[in-house]
Assembly symmetry: C2
Homo-oligomer: 444 residues x 2
């Protein structure tokens, strides 16, 4: 065969990048677990009607077809999931009798969208989601907790600082209703396009699609301009003079989310009343996240409160959740060379091989090191020691272990400094910093 | 919507099962890293011609189609990968210039096959693979190392013991050639069906498809009957009186793999000369793995040496690898209730909430516990303490934390024993056994 080439939109990392991704995922997952979120995975496929039920994603779905479908197939159309929220809502309904509510879960999986690929936009990418769902109703305080979990998860990574932008759908909807816009849902969709098409065209859309007067459109745009880190945001909204009970409820919630974050993570949250999120299913707080220096690439972590995503005629499981766009985040940072790893293999020690017949003895040394958690390889061949050391150097393996001959003790060499000392494989420990590969940020 | 139902062949675990799976994957991955395998993931899709290049899997491939494909698409057919070996071979060719050889990688991902589902056979399932590839040629000793890594990875899990069955394609091919079977490749395929269709029908197949005489078919079946844990296997083969240089080479290798395993993991490996592996690409040692008590469900971990999977006209990257069928393994054990986990959430401590206005103080307690690695939730509501304790009980959370009132110290209660004692969130540690959920095997 000829040399294969990449497929646009389906990114693949080199091993050092994958090591960085693995490190980031471990950190994210550990944090989720510290907050009591249980792990979950759902199948990659959903029935097509499920996938088309919510949001504006119908055009992006990949359908599946068996190369040689046989007659036993039911013929049900299956597609790859485009997010983890819709499958999770389906899972909750399907397994409600076996789950304990409120149910906190995290889910880290690939999703697929048939979008046109561009920087930071992929056709296959990993998301790391947390959601909390409850039966019938869900306490509001979870809407304040969710961004703090994300900040904790990402805060431990060597990446630029994040800023989480929040809004509350009740504020927008209540405000639009209060000023008398005939179709508040359409108004929300129009305002959601503000960053893309600018205020003049949004105003035109508000008139055309939401049935607003020009004065109403102006009021909607005035609301969208408001932003701030604290209760002053609510004052600014009230200064616009619009009255509506849903608006009041939304403002109270918004301020509560801001206050809670200010107590635990000052500077993390900013209210941005133009944030609306494209997806239809949000009903309360919504979140977007900016990465400092990468704002123009859009949100790297989004979510919100949803009341009606998981419901049958008789049951309802409202929830709140957020999704870290792991591939997008790392793709942007990799693109700038903003993350490094200290070696490109997990290996901490290479056991040098004096002669091929020493392999069993060298395997025993390696086994002894591995027993106390030191990642170890034995040299692939009994080449000259210089060549064996180069094997370690090319991979960034910091230590080479030389088996002692004729009863002499083994010696271990730090090939960066050249320092070499006698060592016992049963007890030797590398400096803590060298035990695992180190992931670090790099100014770019 | 109505309550959704499962899709046959696409298993989904409940949270406790997923916790067990996560535990197993962590153990497997940690072991792989201890042996110096670097992490890697490949995209889920491959061009169809890649997928159809090797093996008998063409009928099992899922093809992808965008719901609303536009004219900009190249129209290249993409399918979901059915294993991780073929994508890895493609990845090696594509990135050869950026990799360091010999290249050791592990890869843990879902794969998809359009097979008819049955117990232990899924349409979507996770595999955990290791492979070592080298440029031009690869040292034989890796064929002895691979099964030891798997034994180490699975040996740390609370599952029944495994037995790895080995053979060497050179033994079979050399033997068939030595006895004069006209089409050794077809003979291999026929013998591979031995367990499914029995010796009489294999003999018939050998005559029909491989062009063997009845005497030659009989000799092939005599070879397939041989098994044993050591060099006696080679003696038994030689006693059949067949001469062939490839056969000799194969027997030497087979005995070397057995000897190496006997030194490091006695009883782990058994030569079974009927093992052939369906896939065409193996050229040396092949592996299958039986789980004690579940032998009839087939191999839970298979692989082998391949010379020509990753090659262009001018380059060749021979390799050896093995794949743990994680979903299959766990599906079988879950089906028998053979694995348990001590709680169904990661949470170790529930902080009780005296009143809703105490939430900020309780959040601070939780933050202090999390800071030293203790997974903690705050109670969802300020219900009566009895109800809050039931929240913990229903999830298996072992400890409930009671904030002290009016300057009294906090107290922590082990809700299993009822023991309660004063505690400081900044320093308290649970017994080591309770820090994380415990996964245990259960006699069934």
């Amino acid at each position: 065969m000829s040399r294969p080439t990449p497929i646009s939109g389906f990114p693949e990392w080199l091993p050092p990048q994958r090591m960085i991704e693995q490190y980031a995922l471990d950190r994210i997952r550990t944090t989720f677990e510290l907050y009591g979120f249980a792990p979950l995975e759902t199948r990659a496929v959903e029935p097509l009607d499920q996938l088309l039920r919510k949001g504006e994603t119908s055009k992006e779905v990949y359908l599946l077809r068996r190369l040689q479908a046989d007659d036993g197939d039911t013929g049900e159309d299956l597609g790859l999931h485009f997010d983890l929220t819709v499958p999770f809502a389906r899972y909750v309904l399907e397994n409600a009798g076996k789950l304990v509510f409120p149910f906190r879960r995290y889910q880290i999986q690939k999703v697929w969208r048939g979008e046109r690929p561009q920087e930071g936009r992929y056709r296959e990418f990993a998301q790391a989601d947390i959601d909390i769902v409850d039966r019938d109703s869900i306490p509001f305080h979870y809407e304040a907790e969710i961004p703090l979990v994300v900040a904790d998860a990402l805060g431990g990574l060597p990446i630029p600082p994040i800023r989480i932008l929040v809004n509350n759908r009740k504020v927008c909807e209540g405000f639009y209703r209060g000023v008398g816009v005939p179709d508040p849902a359409e108004a929300l969709r129009a305002v959601d396009k503000l960053d893309k098409i600018g205020p003049a065209r949004v105003a035109a859309l508000l008139v055309e699609t939401a049935g607003a007067t020009e004065a109403q459109a102006k009021a909607c745009l005035a609301l969208a301009e408001i932003s701030g880190p604290d209760a002053s945001v609510a004052d600014a909204v009230r200064a616009l003079g619009v009255q509506d009970p849903l608006l009041d409820e939304g403002l109270t919630e918004l301020v509560q989310v801001l206050d809670s974050a200010a107590a635990h993570a000052p500077g993390l949250l900013v209210a941005e009343l133009k944030i609306a999120r494209g997806l239809d299913y949000y009903t309360g707080t919504v979140y977007e996240t900016q990465l400092a220096g990468y704002e123009r690439f859009g949100s790297i972590c989004s979510g919100g409160r949803y009341d009606n995503l998981a419901s049958t005629g008789t049951e309802r499981y409202p929830g709140v959740g957020i999704s870290i766009g792991v591939t997008r985040l790392l793709g942007l940072l990799f693109g700038r060379g903003a993350l490094t790893v200290s070696r490109q293999v997990p290996t901490c020690v290479l056991v040098a091989l004096p002669a091929e017949e020493d392999r069993p003895a060298c395997d025993r040394i390696a086994a002894a090191l591995r027993r106390h958690g030191i990642a170890t390889e034995v040299s692939p061949s009994a080449a000259k020691y210089g060549k064996q050391i180069r094997y370690a150097e090319r991979r960034g393996i910091p230590f080479v272990w030389f088996p002692g001959a004729d009863g002499a003790p083994d010696e271990v060499k730090d090939i960066r400094s050249g320092a070499q000392e006698p060592a016992d494989a049963a007890t030797w420990q590398p400096p803590a910093d060298d035990l695992h590969p180190r992931v670090e940020g790099k100014e770019t």
